[in-house]
């Protein structure tokens, strides 16, 4: 199992990637958020046996990844990390759905296997695009973008505070669990019974910190209203990005591009 420290460092790395500079990084966060959301909706909207139809959708993550100078192996690892979850979701499909869907010569492939692979493919596509969105935009900008797209401020401010203090809280939690582990000398310690007070203690510390933060806000004139900078740079590039990709997704969804290409290809050679 990975340590809490490791998880936080990983989160920090993702955050640092967002400070990079590329065509994709420079786009307004709203354009990227809207496009990625639309991409996810379209990918998820396919029926369970869709597989060939999904392949052209690889273009979106592959092209954005290529244009954004992100470390490809790191992003692939992140996607691979969630695949076991997708396998778990579709684990029983091959057992229950044994009806043959595809015949590849002597091998017959049941619907269950196809839907399992389809679930994995869709997970990789959607999670991959979300990770690329965070790595090119940053969590904070995404929150601001959501806010300007009409999500109520209460929610986005909550998210921002959550993200800010996740680092502080995990550090405290890591310190406390480390102290517990060191004093349990490689054994179980007091087992589960020691976790109750430990979590209670963390909660009280969190509470105390929340009060101190509120105090720091109040003494700097906070009266319930959050002001943030409004940077408006939704220009031609952003429109092009959103409309261009949306058109691609709509065409891919409504026309069977793989079949058309396949037919063209076989027609060309015959």
């Amino acid at each position: 199992m990975r340590s809490i420290d490791g998880a936080v460092l990983d989160l920090k790395r993702l955050d640092l990637l967002a400070t990079g500079d590329s065509i994709i990084h420079r786009l307004d966060a709203r354009a990227k958020v809207v496009t990625t959301l639309f991409f996810i909706i379209v990918v998820v909207s396919y029926k369970r046996y869709a597989l060939a139809e999904l392949t052209p959708f690889l273009f979106f993550p592959v092209i954005t990844l290529a244009l954004s100078n992100l470390p490809i192996s790191y992003i692939l690892k992140k996607i691979a990390a969630i695949l076991p979850l997708a396998i778990f979701v579709g684990l029983f499909n091959p057992l229950f759905d044994r009806e043959t869907q595809v015949l590849l010569g002597p091998i017959s492939i049941s619907g269950g296997w196809i839907s399992l692979v389809s679930i994995m493919g869709r997970s990789a596509l959607t999670v991959g695009s979300a990770i690329i969105l965070i790595a090119t935009t940053g969590f904070i900008s995404i929150c601001h973008a959501l806010n300007r797209l009409g999500i109520p401020r209460v929610f986005t401010v909550q998210l921002l505070f959550l993200y800010r203090y996740i680092f502080v809280l995990t550090e405290e939690a890591a310190c406390t669990t480390r102290a517990r582990e060191l004093r349990s000398c490689g054994k179980k310690g007091l087992g589960f019974s020691s976790f109750g007070p430990l979590i209670g203690h963390l909660l009280i510390r969190t509470w105390a910190r929340a009060e101190r933060i509120h105090m720091a806000m109040v003494v700097r004139g906070f009266s319930g209203e959050f002001h943030s900078r409004q940077i408006n740079r939704f220009g031609g590039k952003e429109y092009l990005y959103v409309i261009g990709w949306s058109l691609v997704f709509i065409i891919l969804r409504t026309e069977d591009i793989t079949a058309i290409l396949g037919a063209a290809f076989t027609g060309f050679f015959s």
């Binding site: 920090k12 800010r164 203090y165 910190r209 933060i213 105090m215 004139g221 906070f222 002001h227 900078r229």
Partner: protein
């Protein structure tokens, strides 16, 4: 310039659980003074600081800043006048980026965007943190966090700076850097600290708190030379005023 005067008259504070934190404090701090408030743990230092910008209200007595009593009407102006830097910078830096954090105060003051930008730039330059503007606070080191926390207050152009344990948890270099920075300020400055060597360098006047009361109030050097007083208040002479621990020679500096 009566704006910079801090007056505390017969201040008493009793917490909701019945703990008497402050018994009967009175002192006046004048314009441009640099004053240390020292005392053992639990002497009432932090409680006192929280009265100076109206976060806590006195049970008995009065606090006046720049001649004005602390009332709901004067509170916004007093909070601008008194800039407060907390002990743990993580409590103070809550916005997503350093820039937004330093801009938080000026934005709440309702300043126009251009002025906010200018103030943020100046405050960050002053503490030598201009290059950190776009960074999120959790990517900063301890010393950087502390300096940025000071900038968040400077951007509100306070007349009085109040700092709780400014050098706490800093490495020697960051501590030295911070002391250098604080020396250059011309505000009225009030510090609480256990770092008595810092107190000697920065404050000409020291107020010693002991069990919620002012035990002594006078020139810093005189107070640190009063061995009996220090012992009674669970304090000791700053290291820089003690003899060399190896050869016993004194520096005769002060």
């Amino acid at each position: 310039m009566s704006h910079h005067i801090v007056e505390v008259k017969n201040l008493k504070h009793v917490y909701a659980d019945g703990t008497i934190a402050l018994k009967d404090l009175s002192f006046t701090i004048h314009h441009g003074e640099s004053v240390a408030i020292i005392g053992a743990n639990g002497a009432g230092k932090s409680t006192l600081l929280l009265h100076l910008n109206g976060y806590l209200a006195p049970t008995v007595g009065e606090v006046r800043i720049g001649g004005f009593p602390l009332t709901p009407e004067t509170l916004p102006e007093i909070r601008r006048t008194v800039g407060m830097v907390f002990q743990d910078p993580d409590d103070q830096l809550f916005m997503p980026t350093v820039y937004e954090d330093v801009a938080f105060g000026p934005c709440n003051l309702g300043l126009p965007e251009e002025e906010v930008r200018q103030r943020v730039g100046e405050a960050l330059e002053k503490v030598g943190a201009g290059h950190l503007a776009q960074k999120p606070p959790y990517h900063l080191s301890g010393g950087e966090k502390k300096r940025v926390a000071i900038a968040t207050v400077l951007s509100m152009s306070p007349d009085i700076l109040v700092m709780d344990e400014p050098t706490n948890g800093l490495d020697p270099f960051s501590r030295r850097q911070l002391i250098g920075l604080l020396k250059d300020f011309h505000h009225t400055r009030i510090f609480t600290s256990h770092d008595l060597d810092m107190v000697i360098e920065l404050c000409e006047r020291t107020i010693v708190l002991h069990q919620g009361e002012v035990k002594a109030d006078g020139p810093t050097v005189a107070i640190f030379n009063n061995a009996q007083l220090l012992a009674e208040c669970r304090l000791e002479k700053p290291l820089s005023m003690q003899g060399c621990p190896i050869c016993g020679a004194s520096r005769n500096r002060l």
